[in-house]
Symmetry: D2
Amino acid sequence: MSRYEPRDPDWQARCLASFERQPIARAFGIALARVEPGFCEMRMPFHPELTQQHGYFHAGVVATLADNAGGYAAYTLMPAGSEVLAVEFKINLMAPAKGEAMIARGRVQKSGRTLTVCTIEVSVVENGVEREVALMQQTCMAVSAA
Amino acid sequence: MSRYEPRDPDWQARCLASFERQPIARAFGIALARVEPGFCEMRMPFHPELTQQHGYFHAGVVATLADNAGGYAAYTLMPAGSEVLAVEFKINLMAPAKGEAMIARGRVQKSGRTLTVCTIEVSVVENGVEREVALMQQTCMAVSAA
Amino acid sequence: MSRYEPRDPDWQARCLASFERQPIARAFGIALARVEPGFCEMRMPFHPELTQQHGYFHAGVVATLADNAGGYAAYTLMPAGSEVLAVEFKINLMAPAKGEAMIARGRVQKSGRTLTVCTIEVSVVENGVEREVALMQQTCMAVSAA
Amino acid sequence: MSRYEPRDPDWQARCLASFERQPIARAFGIALARVEPGFCEMRMPFHPELTQQHGYFHAGVVATLADNAGGYAAYTLMPAGSEVLAVEFKINLMAPAKGEAMIARGRVQKSGRTLTVCTIEVSVVENGVEREVALMQQTCMAVSAA
């Protein structure tokens, strides 16, 4: 199904365990909806506390969900004993992020030995209809776990 | 002092009033430490709920503070009756964001009629010493307030 | 076929006429291989003069082809009497750009009144086989022709 | 003078030798005007063949000069026996790039073991007056020379 073969047979347990240790995911109510080799989907409910002055999700919150989904998509393909770090990302905010929920789908575009490049699409669900709100291009790095 | 002349004599009151309407600033404890024509400094205390799996501020939280500081730096130079939107940004995460507090300093690099380009330096204060952790380059747009 | 409806019925002639006026396209041997509403494919042959110190296409040349393809993809959807300008772009260089030819395919992701967001995939053809080398995310602006 | 200490005492000869092997620098008339630990300035004359449809330097040519200056600024701090590769960059095109000459000044912002982050300012000289036209934020990687 996936065009990527994980290097670590235990990739799924490793990703879930890492995600479990993320305080911000609990604070924001982020759920790891789907994780496959080279792919990760995360969802979070709308939360009025996380909005900017117009009542939309703040761009930084959109970036948080997108960066998280991209990071774990990258992490699925990293070797056992590694940690994932976001090196940098760029995001275009294309429409107001308002609705009942936000979804980010991260996909690995290039999996290298040191660096992984991902793209992440972010959409919101408003009145049950999903529409795209942001697009991210991200670089992650595998580092050895201490 | 500043190389920029605001178009709106009431720029400071307009910026403060907008910032006051930002729920995420209250939720994260973000303070508008300094605002001048073309410049904005924001600070926030460390908060363990906003960290990722290694105990550092999540990259998305670093981006939230940086995007916010850049947006208000841009907003100081926009005309009366306008709102500011972040069109896109790119951030490099250069070191772990851990410490007692995080500071973002946004500077306008180009103030155009429609678009404003900012750069934002993010640092943390750890044991009283400040060190740089991230660098953002951002594009904002002025839109007419409804 | 395309999910975009051009605003200008004459979009194709307008795009071709603009491309014809581009000296760099002639200098680099860039061909407008395909143009559709919201899509543009450009190709250029390998040229040893445009390489960096390892014999690959220089990153700036990869960016030139990608930015060009994205700009014209955006331009297909802009109104009559407008010109297209690239506001900013971000590119990841994922593999050495070496081969007989380079191809860039630009796609509009969001077509707004002022701004258009595109993604562009760049590949090279080496020994007849195509492989991806770079990925760009770009913002263009429509400006009134003088 | 510089806040960076080169790891390779022979950094200057290494940078010059690498630059000498760059065909595109000869083709575009790029001169390495100044190189210091963590800094590089490059210049090139205006060339009508390298313009887009409005007679300005094409964005990709602006990116070529900027990426080159940033890459060599990064390379000054890399260890002996390494090569420099641009991983990714993001550029804002803030004003038309037209004039007698273009100048790019690259500065290292963070020099890590694997990755280096640079910012690059690009200006043009028009009728003897210099003005800023673009701003780049770039990530480079040190790789072992074969």
